[in-house]
Amino acid sequence: MTHYCLDACSLINLFCGWGGIQELHAFGDSWSTSRTALAEFTEIREWCQDGSIIRRPIDEAAICGGSPLCVHSATGDDELATLSRLSMVIDDGEAECLAIAKHRGLILVSDDGLAVSHAAKEGVPAVSSIQLLIEWSNLDTTSKPRLREIASRIELLARYVPPPQSPYRAWWDSL
């Protein structure tokens, strides 16, 4: 089983793309985020029936309900020392996710270039939410046809598009 720790931005992308994170069950892996990262996910955008988009506040119960996501806080001397050191260069949520990933042997899920570069410096493997989506689409034959719609939801609701230098940008554009 592979263990992942999602930062706020990757969590938002997957949540908006799927319309929730229950799909994480399909992987059979273990999923977590940090308390601080989760606190940064405060609002989502949704389509109304008339096609317009509205903003709506969201809380922890609505994000995590029915999903296999665990919420961790950095604890212990090593994690807290790493957290405070990393918070010099990245934000608290990303720093906590990365500190937890480093000391608990998890894979960091992040779409943020700066966070991913610091993960590499810390020797922590990292994947993007887009890579997870591709892996998810390969799990069964019914998922792949939904990818275009999911990418569209991520683009319009999460307001995320892989940056031009991302290895997934060409794939994204080809959808």
Partner: protein, 396 residues
């Protein structure tokens, strides 16, 4: 004293936490806590996390490499003490300090960004202070390209281009604005978002007057004016009036209206007020001071009990659009933030916090601003010699 220690002290004071309470929160003795704030005992990571939570700030802010802008708070706090009542001043001072801190953080992140040099302070004159203010306002209008008649269309943007940083955020209703000049940063103004736009424009122009007259002082302006105004306040008031409502322009507009209609009523004055982006009260008082309408006109309007929206509806004067951005931060700050985010110098979460928006809204804002900047860039790249008609020859 290192930057972290300075930031810990500033954050504690800003949160209004005593050393004793902080020590208790960390479960350490007060002398040990004092040793942390003196820099003689290192703060442990778990203590740092606990203090960030207690002070309602982020680790990322506490761990910034540079010292916090200490000049903002003490001077403005002195005003709090002089005024005798808080009126949300402590919170406002904390806000302004954070905004300046964030601005300085972004300036460090985006290399090669050159800030404009704010205008020099005019030499003091032996003239009465109101007359001196009128001369300064005329000179500023000329330098900023507004001449002696035109309205100041976008005051905030204009001042931003001159290196005067205008922040807008919700403050206690009793407060109009705060101003401070900070060495190595510049002049900054914090204006109350709760006040209507014409009032905010007046406050910004008033605080700009302070910048020209007494920039070395920090100060606070209240919504209710003081009964006895000192010289600097009289200057700032007179400056705002002449800067926003130039005598020549107002008189010409008034006379044009009179010639067209054979009279000028309160609805017409409201139109002139809208044109100059000021309140009805400000324009009526200005017309009174110019001798164009009867003294006491404003008192009569007030006594009638008519509200501005009633006058607007009865006269068919439409609501005017906001002339200025009501974003918390000035354009230059936002452009710096987007630049830092686009170049991965800061993370998306940092970007969102720096512009005080939730993550998705911050992404949306960043993409739109980047697009606007790109569009402007493509306009700038246009060769003015290029033909704007079809390059291909028309077919027969």
């Amino acid at each position: 004293m290192n930057a972290l220690v300075q930031r810990l002290i500033a954050a504690r004071k800003s949160a209004g936490v005593s050393q004793a309470s902080a020590a208790e929160h960390l479960n350490i003795s007060r002398p040990t806590f004092i040793a942390i704030e003196k820099g003689t005992r290192d703060v442990k990571p778990e203590e740092l996390v606990a203090l960030a939570s207690l002070y309602h700030t982020s680790l990322n802010r506490l761990m910034r490499q540079s010292a916090p802008p200490t000049e903002v708070a003490p001077h403005l706090r002195a005003v709090v003490e002089r005024q005798g009542e808080d009126a949300g001043l402590e919170a406002a001072v904390a806000k302004l300090s954070e905004f300046v801190d964030d601005y300085m953080f972004l300036r460090d992140k985006v290399q090669g960004h050159v800030m404009p040099v704010p205008p020099a302070q005019p030499a003091r004159s032996p003239l009465p202070v109101e007359r001196f203010a009128e001369i300064c306002a005329a000179k500023q209008r000329e330098e900023l390209g507004f001449g002696d008649r035109e309205p100041v269309s976008s005051l905030r943007k204009t001042l931003d281009e001159k290196g005067v940083h205008v922040f807008i955020d919700g403050l206690d209703s009793k407060l109009a604005g705060l101003y401070a000049y900070i060495e190595n940063f510049g002049y900054c103004i914090l204006v109350n978002r709760k006040h209507p736009q014409p009032r905010r424009r007046w406050t910004i122009a008033h605080e700009y007057g302070h910048f020209l007259f007494d920039r070395d002082r920090r100060g606070v302006d209240f919504a209710q004016p003081m009964k006895r105004k000192p010289e600097n306040e009289r200057f700032a008031d007179a400056f705002a009036m002449h800067f926003l409502m130039p005598g020549d322009g107002v008189q010409r507009r008034f006379h044009n209206t009179y010639q067209q209609k054979g009279d000028v009523n309160v609805g017409d004055v409201l139109r002139i007020a809208d044109y100059y982006g000021v309140s009805l009260m400000a324009m009526v008082l200005r017309l009174e001071s110019l001798g164009l309408i009867k003294r006491g006109s404003w008192d009569a309007i007030k006594a009638s009990g008519a509200r501005v929206q009633d006058i607007r509806a009865a006269s068919g004067v439409e609501e005017v659009e906001e002339k200025d951005s009501a974003e918390i931060f000035p354009d230059r700050y936002l452009i710096l933030a987007v630049e830092a985010w686009s170049s991965h110098t800061i993370t998306t979460s940092q970007f969102a916090k720096l512009i005080r928006k939730p993550i998705i809204e911050a992404r949306d804002f960043g993409q739109k601003l980047s697009q606007q900047t790109d569009d402007m860039q493509s306009v700038i790249n246009l060769s003015l010699g290029d033909s704007l008609v079809h390059k291909e020859q028309p077919r027969a």
